[in-house]
Amino acid sequence: MNKDNEQLDALENKVAKALGEDLKALFSPAGRTPDEVDRAVLDATRKRLVRPRRHRWRLVRAGAAAMAAVVLLAVVLNVTRDHVGRMHPAATATAPADIDHNGRIDILDAYKLARRLEGPGALEARWDLNADGQVDRADVDLVAFAAVRLDGGA
């Protein structure tokens, strides 16, 4: 069979480019694929294949994160408000916004969280107050908002 392969290779090497060109000219259709075929195939494609919903999922996730943040903020505010009359400023040992665990949520917590963001230390998952999957400046703003609200309400 090697001999046959060599014979074919040798013969193909002798084929002039013109053979392919003339064959293509002979067998190339005069027209092109009709537009109505394009439309039919592409319509069917769009119906059958569902585009990845990354953008939609992003919106859903952002919405869920925002909702979680609102709920969390409400919880933080309510818990602290309950304590306002008894201890000033409001305190809760379990409030995630109580960054320094001193039983109070105040502007120092926001400051300390901001410093932690800039420093090399590890960030705790519970500081993700808006539940968007990361601890960042938006969480600092939430702590600050809670602290200001408490101060204002005191």
């Binding site: 013969l11 193909e12 694929t33």
Partner: protein
Amino acid sequence: METDEKLIAAANAGDSEAFEALYLRYRDWVYALAMRFTGNGAQAADAVQETFLYLLKKFPGFELRCGMKSFLYPAVRHISITITRQGRRTSSDEALLAELPAPDAAEMGGSQAELAAVLETLAAEQRQVVLMRFVDDMPLADIAEALDLSLNTVKSRLYRALEALRSDSRTRRYFLD
């Protein structure tokens, strides 16, 4: 340009634009091939549509285990024959393929007319391999895959076809020796 494999992976993930890219990449080749099998523009257009709807139904979950042309070729051939048969009552696939419409000699130059005439003297299976090799630019292994033949059989058919062209005075000029 994205590879066929990447486009198929994206289409399997639901990306309709990836399938559209595949369609646009192979549409005109499928049309030319269908024209070769049917000799009729309307039937060829139907064959293109049917071929890609057939391919589309394989998504999601489509796995390409050969070249795209190797996958499409038998589908286009089968669909074209089916469409042609609906218009004509012919006994077998091979009978239909043997009747493959030859290009119109009146529309060709002299050398091309001679080439077409010599092609007509080849056995249908030899002519088919020559066209797949030189018109469709398919590698021998892809031709074998598309026709479900051994590589040796494809080589043998191509060798005999080329020898026939070389030995005919009308097509001798296509060979360099």
